[in-house]
C-alpha cells in the first residue's frame, strides 16, 4: 500500500501541479492573445483606474449593492473562497511535505485553528449544496459539472478533516483527500473552476467598459 501512497503523493501530485500550472498559464496567455487578435476592445477599453475602483467594491464584503442584498450568502461566499486558499497553503502537514521534498517551508496555521477552518469550509460546501438544491433559479441551471465541482471540494476537505481526527477508515480517507485535492487542481483550467483564473478579468473588463465608456459605476 505504501507504493500507492508514494505514487499519489509523488508523481501524481507533481503531474497535477504541472497540469494546473501549465493549464492556467495557457489559459491566461490564450485569453490575452485572443483579445489582442479578435476582441481588441477588451484591451482598448481596459482602464486600470476603473478596474481597481470596481475591485475595491467587489472584493470587499458588503461593499456593493449585490453583496448587501443577500447577506448570508455573501458571508459564506467570502469565507469559502478565502479559506480554500488559506487552509491548504498554510496547513502544517502540507508545509511539512513541501519541506520534505523541496526543502522549503513557510509559516503555518496552528493545527486546532486549521482544523476548525477546514470544518468551516465543509459547512460552506453544505450551504452551497443546499442552496443549489433548494433555490429554484439556481437549481434550474445546475448541471452535473456544478455538483461535481462543489462535490470535489467537499470530499477534499471532509476527508481531510476525518483523516486528521482518525475518524472512519484512516487510509481510505487519506487517499480520498489526496486524490480529490489533485482532481480539483487539474479541474481548474478545464471546468467552471476556471473562474479562479478569469473571474477578475471578466469583472475588470466590465468595470472598464462601465467606467471609461459608460461613465457609470458597476457595483
Amino acid at each position: 500500500m505504501h507504493t500507492f501512497y508514494d505514487f499519489i503523493t509523488g508523481p501524481l501530485l507533481w503531474i497535477s501541479f504541472l497540469v494546473f500550472l501549465a493549464g492556467s498559464v495557457y489559459r491566461l496567455v490564450y485569453a490575452y492573445m485572443e483579445a489582442k487578435r479578435r476582441d481588441q476592445f477588451v484591451l482598448v477599453y481596459w482602464s486600470w483606474k476603473h478596474v481597481l475602483r470596481s475591485m475595491a467594491h467587489w472584493l470587499v464584503p458588503y461593499n456593493t449593492m449585490r453583496w448587501r442584498t443577500t447577506p448570508v450568502l455573501t458571508a459564506v461566499t467570502f469565507v469559502f473562497h478565502i479559506l480554500i486558499f488559506v487552509v491548504p497553503i498554510f496547513l502544517t502537514a502540507h508545509v511539512m511535505l513541501f519541506n520534505q521534498w523541496l526543502g522549503i517551508s513557510w509559516p503555518t496555521l496552528p493545527e486546532a485553528v486549521a482544523d476548525i477552518l477546514a470544518i468551516v469550509v465543509v459547512l460552506c460546501c453544505g450551504y452551497f449544496i443546499w442552496r443549489r438544491w433548494a433555490t429554484p433559479e439556481v437549481r434550474y441551471v445546475t448541471g452535473w459539472q456544478d455538483w461535481f465541482m462543489v462535490g470535489t471540494v467537499l470530499v477534499t476537505f471532509l476527508s481531510g478533516v476525518l483523516a486528521y481526527h482518525q475518524l472512519g477508515p484512516y487510509q481510505i480517507m487519506l487517499y480520498l483527500h489526496i486524490l480529490a485535492g489533485e482532481a480539483f487542481l487539474v479541474m481548474i483550467p478545464f471546468t467552471r473552476a476556471e473562474h479562479m483564473l478569469y473571474g477578475l478579468f471578466m469583472r475588470g473588463y466590465i468595470a472598464s467598459e462601465f467606467g471609461a465608456v459608460r461613465h457609470c459605476k458597476d457595483w
Partner: protein, 445 residues
C-alpha cells in the same frame, strides 16, 4: 436539472410570422454552419469566458424585471436565458433544431431588454445583454427575426431611417413644424443644411412620423436659447438603429457611418440628439465599435446633457414650476449606458416643486421593458412586455407621483403600456415637454 424549455413545443411560444416562416425555411446543415460561423468568427474571448466560467450561482436572477414580475419563474432569470439559448448552441456545436433556434431567438428578442441591470448582480460582470445580442445575430443570419422589428431594419436598409420616411416627407415635416411654430415665435426658423453650424440636431424617425410636436418643441428650445444649429436635409438625419438590435451589424455600420458623415459634411462641431436611449447607445457604444472607433468620431451630446447645459449656462430659464408630484425614470441606455442620472435629475428638479425618487433608482433602476428592441417586435409581444414588467408598475405606483419623466422614446412606449395595464393614474412626459411648457419664452408673442 430542468430541461431547457426552448427545446420543446410546450415552451411559451408566441406566433410571429418572421420567426415561424423563418424557422420553416431552415435546414440542420444551415443552422450548424451559421451558428459555428458566428461563434468562431465573430466572437472571441469575452463570449468564450461567459460560456465557460459562469458558475450558475443564480445571483443575477434578481437583477431581471422579467424574473421579478413573473413570480420568480426561474426560466426568466438572465442565467436561464443563456442556458436556454447560447450555451445550448455552443454545447451542441450548432446541432440544434429549427424549433430550438426559433424559440431561442424569440427569447433573446422579447424577454431581454439588453438593459444590463444584471451586470450589477453578477459578481463576475457577465454581460448577458452581449450574449443575447449574439443569439439575435445568429437568428438574423438565419433569417429568423420577429417580423415587426425586421421591417424597421428593412426600412433602415432602404431609406436610412427607421420609419420608411421619404426624403421630401422629412423636409416637409420640418417645414410644417416651422410654420406651426412661427405662430408662437414669429422669428423662428428650422435651419436646414446650414454648413458650419455649431450643432447638427438629429432625431429618430418616429419624431417626424408621429411625434412631430417634439420637433416643434426642440425648435422652440433651440430658438429661445439662441443656438446655432441645423438639421440635415439628406438621409443621415435619423440616429435610430434597429439594425443594431436585430443583429444586422452590416446595416448598423452603414447607418452610423452615414450619420457621422452627414455631420462632417455639414462641418458641425457636435451632434445633439433628442431624448432617445437606444440611438445614443448605437452612436457611442455599439455602432462606433463596428466602424472601428473607440468613441464616436464627432462629439455626441444627448438631449439630457444638452438641456442641462442650456439650463446651467442660463440660456434657458425657468418661468413656472410643476406643482404635481413628479418622479424620474432612469432609461438604461443613458444611465447604465452613459451615467446621465444626475444631469437628468437636475433638469427635472429645476422645473418641479414636488419631486420623489423611485427605489431602486439611478444605475440600479428597473428597465421599462420596451427597450433593446423589444417594443419594436410589435403587437404580438405586447403581453410579454406588460406582464413581464409588473415590477416596474409596482415601483411607479409606490411613488404616488402624478407625473413620470422619462427622457427616452422607448421608455415612453413601455411605460405607457404599463400605466394603462396596471391602471396607474400617471402622466408621462419628456424633459423637452416640460422645458417647452415651463421655460421663460422671451421670443414668443
Amino acid at each position: 436539472m430542468t430541461k431547457p424549455l426552448t427545446q420543446t413545443d410546450k415552451w411559451r411560444k408566441v406566433e410571429d410570422a418572421g420567426l415561424d416562416r423563418g424557422a420553416a425555411r431552415l435546414t440542420p446543415e444551415r443552422i450548424e454552419k451559421v451558428i459555428n460561423e458566428v461563434i468562431d468568427k465573430e466572437t472571441s474571448i469575452r463570449f468564450q469566458a461567459y460560456m465557460r466560467d459562469c458558475v450558475r450561482c443564480g445571483l443575477c436572477a434578481e437583477g431581471c424585471h422579467y424574473f421579478l414580475s413573473r413570480d420568480r419563474d426561474p426560466s426568466y432569470s438572465p442565467v436561464a436565458k443563456m442556458h436556454q439559448t447560447a450555451w445550448e448552441m455552443v454545447r451542441r456545436k450548432g446541432k440544434v433544431s429549427a424549433e430550438f433556434v426559433r424559440n431561442a431567438v424569440q427569447l433573446a428578442h422579447t424577454e431581454c431588454n439588453l438593459c444590463r441591470r444584471c451586470l450589477h448582480y453578477c459578481p463576475f460582470g457577465i454581460d448577458t445583454a452581449y450574449v443575447m445580442g449574439i443569439v439575435r445575430r445568429i437568428g438574423n443570419r438565419l433569417g429568423v427575426t420577429p417580423q415587426y422589428i425586421q421591417d424597421t431594419a428593412n426600412s433602415h436598409s432602404a431609406t436610412m431611417n427607421q420609419m420608411w420616411v421619404k426624403e421630401d416627407e422629412w423636409i416637409d415635416s420640418l417645414k410644417w413644424q416651422e410654420d406651426e411654430a412661427r405662430d408662437e415665435f414669429p422669428d423662428l426658423r428650422i435651419p436646414l443644411e446650414k454648413e458650419g453650424a455649431e450643432i447638427m440636431y438629429s432625431v429618430i424617425a418616429p419624431e417626424p412620423k408621429f411625434r412631430t410636436q417634439l420637433i416643434y418643441q426642440a425648435a422652440a428650445i433651440f430658438h429661445e436659447a439662441g443656438m446655432d444649429y441645423t438639421f440635415p436635409a439628406t438621409p443621415g438625419w435619423d440616429n435610430s438603429d434597429m439594425a443594431m438590435f436585430v443583429g444586422n451589424n452590416e446595416i448598423m455600420g452603414r447607418l452610423k457611418r452615414l450619420h457621422f458623415e452627414t455631420a462632417q459634411r455639414l462641418r458641425v462641431k457636435r451632434i445633439v440628439m433628442g431624448e432617445c436611449g437606444h440611438a445614443f447607445r448605437s452612436v457611442y457604444d455599439v455602432g462606433n465599435r463596428w466602424l472601428g472607433w473607440r468613441d464616436s468620431p464627432i462629439e455626441i451630446v444627448h438631449g439630457v446633457q444638452f438641456y442641462h447645459e442650456l439650463l446651467t449656462s442660463g440660456r434657458i430659464q425657468v418661468e413656472t414650476q410643476i406643482e404635481d408630484l413628479v418622479t424620474f425614470h432612469d432609461p438604461c441606455n443613458i444611465i447604465r449606458g452613459r451615467g446621465l442620472m444626475e444631469q437628468g435629475r437636475e433638469v427635472a428638479k429645476a422645473f418641479c416643486k414636488n419631486y420623489i425618487e423611485m427605489t431602486p433608482n439611478r444605475e440600479h433602476n428597473l428597465c421599462c421593458a420596451a427597450g433593446g428592441g423589444v417594443i419594436n417586435c410589435g403587437p404580438p409581444f405586447k403581453e410579454t412586455r406588460v406582464k413581464g414588467n409588473r415590477a416596474k408598475a409596482e415601483q411607479l405606483k409606490a411613488t404616488g407621483a402624478k407625473i413620470v419623466i422619462a427622457p427616452c422614446h422607448n421608455c415612453h412606449g413601455g411605460l405607457e403600456d404599463i400605466i394603462h395595464a396596471y391602471h396607474l393614474d400617471m402622466k408621462l412626459m419628456f424633459l423637452g415637454d416640460i422645458i417647452y411648457k415651463h421655460m421663460k419664452k422671451t421670443k414668443a408673442v
